[in-house]
Amino acid sequence: MEQFLQAVISGLVLGSIYALIAQGYYVTYITTNTLNFGQGDFLMLGAMVGLTLVMAGLPWWAALLAGVAAAALAGAVLERMAIRPLRHLLSVGWILSTVAVSMIVRNVALLRWGRNPMAFPSPFGSGVIRLTERVGVLPHEVFVAAASLVTMALLFLFLRRTLLGKALAAVAWNRDAASLMGINPVRMSVFAFVLSSALAGLGGVLVGPITQTSFTMGLTLGLRAFAAAIVGGLEHPGGILVGGLLIGVAEQVTAVIQPDLKDMTPFLLILLLLVVSPSGIFGRRLKEKY
């Protein structure tokens, strides 16, 4: 029983990170109908930059900001190089171009930081908070979950309440109409990718201390976050949060029951779910107009 409790706790922590990264998919998907398949590698970039600065003796918050900034910058470049020129192509175009950029980012990280996983120290130390005798949680895990949730809440407030956030949503609803209202869709597209990548970078610095930090870390995390977004429905931020937590918990609980199945769980879940509801649990199925 305690095993399962432990699994659920770890699952919720991981799930909140998946959800945080996946909100990045949401932000760009609603504004541009595209998303960054290399989101995971942007996360890795954030983690690597953050780790480098922490190791150089900078305070943790400075490393966090630098990681976020590095990923955000990469997002702006991605939009300019791989999204904007390919808008006219079928969906295959931007999916592959973002995959291509992610391969380049991963290779750069390999050259700069090497192949070996690195330890990322947590500012909260490594003492375990005991809940029961055999169930515990790292202070950093608590921090990760809390920071993810707070960031997501701020993101929602931003999108709903501020003019800039509303402008993003307006472009999503109708690009041409928004453009007539004086909103520059190109600038909004850049902004969406910067915001999305910044979330990935933040996720990277947050998650670094509780996973292995290496140049391949993005592939696993990015795919799981993508699964979370698809489970919840790409256009539904609340659904994405639920999707992330669901995948995190399902994965950890499966690990207790049958460790070999752990890595497969998110994908089996996706396949099962998309049969039942092809736009995610909460996805609204809009009728296409003909």
């Binding site: 295959v92 995959v99 991963r106 050259l111 795919l223 070999d260 994908f267 396949l271 092809p278 107009k289």
Partner: protein, 652 residues
């Protein structure tokens, strides 16, 4: 036809040389191993090209099918003791089944959702290969017993090369047949394909099945290439590599996969010392191809050649030779006459690319030809034998609501044979929704639809099309990258009798059927006055002519009832006249036509009966004259009683 066949066999001979000679020139083990790898990678990439390049679908999980083929073959040979050829088939068909299953799972999924289904499938297979070690041996490897003959020199390569050659030949036959055409059409507009009778679900399963079969076949060849098969070669990055092969070579071209295979298989060899830069090199190739040469190396080279040919004045000669070829397949002579001038005019214009100008030119000429056509021009095969007054379509109490909004609220509608029935109403009155329900595009929320007395509500669009009801779209749904002629040819889907095997083997029966459909398609294009534009991409035509292409395409189905959804929207007065003339001739041929339109002159001039909708309800029905005087109609359009009185006063 004979000439083309000769040409084909010449290519086959060339391919046979390309397979047969290299091992003789460089009989080193390393080189032959590399050739084997090229052969089976090519088979996988050619299959993926069919899926991505032709049918416009996407798979980021092809490594999964590749793995299923490999393990299927290795295990069926090792555990079940199947002989090699059967193990090969077992592996390929296992992958094929999985492909059809993935298509079934992802039927309603699009864009990122489709990508996710294929990623998830690939991931599940890869993880299973890795962890289910009792079955697959995992990373440590599975022993494969190679038959003794494979050890002899280049014999295994000759087998793989021969298979690659056969695959190429069959794929070439397939994509040049109606199958290739339908796949491309489906990728450009699923709903248009559906209303022409194409069961999109089955076709997606077909194309995923074929593509997965070839990936599986490549996998089986990989399994028997050496005595050990390990699970490292089926990661996500392998799926991406396959896609790079398709895109870099040239998606949707026949030679593309070959070039793409060479790129993805040989580059790592060339840059062996730059191992640490592999990801970057592949990423850069993919990104640069997408940005600079979206049609890939082969597509880009072909476009460049065309430009050079045009600049050198060869374009005119090429264009002039086209009608000759077309005439050989049975094009009506009059059409061929206009066709000669069209492409030449386009090419001679400025020498630069000016497809729009070229299209406009042909349009003018074509229209002249069309205007000269008399009612006698209606092809006899379009004539229906429905009795006048026979009820074709009957809707009773039809309802449709979207999440609380009632778009159509209990409408009754009866369309009789040999009549033109108008459907009018202000914007948002539910006309399009009603048409979408009648044509099977939407499933009604309530009520019944009868087709010649049979319940048909809830039937999908392709079934309605097979029964004889098809439609055009308010927002055009052409297949823009297909030529005008090809667009119309897709419409003959219901009349296609020769199946998949005929297409694969390019049988004479298939060629005869195709020639007959081409002849009929040209008749239809002459009917709408577009015979001269037959070989232009449909997307390059002016708007009004695109509407006419849609009508011609719908007519190819030999419909009993043709639904025209705002055929005059965006058309000039001349074009409206032309559409009206065509509709009139179709009624004379015995078709029933349901036309949704805002253009009142057209409605009043054409229709035998008019139904008026407002806020999802029927507010009036009757002859055009009666409708024009109906106060409720005037109110719905102009609002207020005073206005109605005013208009009424002016009218009388």
């Amino acid at each position: 036809m004979k000439g083309r066949n000769l040409y084909k066999w010449l290519w086959v001979a060339l391919g046979a040389l390309a397979v047969g000679v290299p091992p003789l020139l460089y009989p080193s083990v390393f080189f032959i191993h590399l050739l084997e790898r090229l052969a089976f990678l090519y088979i996988v990439i050619a299959g993926l090209n069919l899926l991505v390049g032709y049918s416009g679908q996407l798979s980021l999980g092809h490594a999964g099918f590749y793995a299923l083929g490999a393990y299927g073959a290795a295990l069926s040979a090792g555990r079940l003791g199947l002989p090699f050829p059967l193990a090969l088939l077992f592996g390929a068909f296992l992958a094929c089944g999985a492909g059809a299953l993935v298509a079934l799972l992802s039927l309603r999924a699009r864009g990122p959702y489709l990508a996710m289904v294929t990623i998830a499938f690939g991931a599940v297979v890869e993880i299973a290969a890795n962890r289910w070690t009792s079955l697959t041996g995992g990373p440590a490897g599975l022993r494969v017993d190679r038959p003794a003959w494979m050890e002899a020199g280049a014999s295994y390569f000759y087998l793989a090369g021969a298979l690659a050659l056969v695959v190429t030949l069959l794929l070439a036959n397939l994509v040049s047949s109606r199958y290739g055409r339908t796949l491309r059409a489906m990728g450009q507009s699923e709903v248009a394909a559906a209303v022409l009778g194409v069961d999109v679900r089955r076709w997606k399963m077909l194309v995923f099945g074929i593509s997965a079969f070839l990936a599986g076949l490549g996998g089986t060849l990989l399994a028997f290439q050496s005595t050990f098969l390990n699970s490292d070669g089926f990661q996500f990055s392998v799926s991406v590599t396959f896609l790079i092969g398709v895109i870099a070579g040239g998606a949707g071209t026949l030679a593309g996969p070959l070039v793409g295979t060479v790129v993805v298989a040989l580059l790592p060899q060339l840059f062996e010392r730059l191992y640490d830069y592999h990801l970057m090199i592949f990423g850069a190739i993919l990104l640069l191809t997408l940005l600079l040469m979206p049609q890939g190396i082969v597509g880009g080279a072909a476009a460049a050649l065309r430009r050079i040919a045009r600049a050198g004045g060869l374009g005119a000669g090429r264009a002039a030779s086209r009608p000759a070829e077309a005439a050989g397949t049975g094009v009506v002579p009059r059409a061929a006459g206009t066709e000669v001038e069209a492409p030449v005019a386009g090419a001679a214009g400025t020498g630069a690319e000016a497809p729009a100008a070229g299209a406009a030119g042909t349009g003018a000429e074509a229209r002249a030809a069309g205007a000269a056509a008399s009612p006698a021009d209606i092809p006899t095969w379009l004539v229906t034998d429905h009795a006048p007054g026979e009820v074709l379509l009957e809707a009773r109490n039809l309802r449709m609501h979207f999440a609380g909004l009632v778009a159509v609220d209990g409408v009754d509608l009866t369309v009789r044979a040999r009549t033109v029935h108008g459907l009018i109403g202000p914007n948002g009155s539910g006309k399009s929704t009603l048409v979408n329900m009648l044509s099977g595009v939407y499933t009604p929320s309530g009520g019944t639809i009868l087709w010649q007395g049979q319940r048909v509500d809830g039937l999908p669009a392709h079934r309605m099309a097979q029964l004889g009801l098809t439609r055009t779209f308010q927002n055009l749904q052409l297949f823009p990258e297909l030529t005008v002629l090809e667009n119309v040819l897709v419409g003959f889907h219901r009349d296609c009798r020769r199946g998949f095997l005929h297409a694969l083997l390019a049988t004479p029966g298939m060629a005869r059927e195709e020639a007959e459909h081409r002849r009929r398609a040209m008749e239809l294009l002459a009917l709408v006055g577009l015979a001269g534009a037959a070989d232009l991409p449909a997307g390059s035509l002016p708007y009004g002519q695109q509407r006419l292409v849609e009508i011609a395409r719908a007519l190819a189905l030999r419909p009993s009832l043709l639904v025209l959804d705002e055929p005059a929207a965006g058309c000039g007065p001349g074009e409206i006249e032309e559409i009206s003339a065509v509709v009139g001739r179709l009624r004379a041929a015995g078709l029933a036509i349901l036309v949704v339109e805002h253009h009142m002159e057209m409605i009043m001039g054409l229709c035998d009966e008019v139904t008026v909708l407002d806020f999802g309800q029927k507010i009036a029905e009757g002859s055009p004259g009666a409708i024009q005087r109906d106060p409720r109609v005037i109110e719905a359009y102009l609002g207020g009683e005073e206005v109605a009185a005013l208009v009424g006063g002016v009218g009388s």
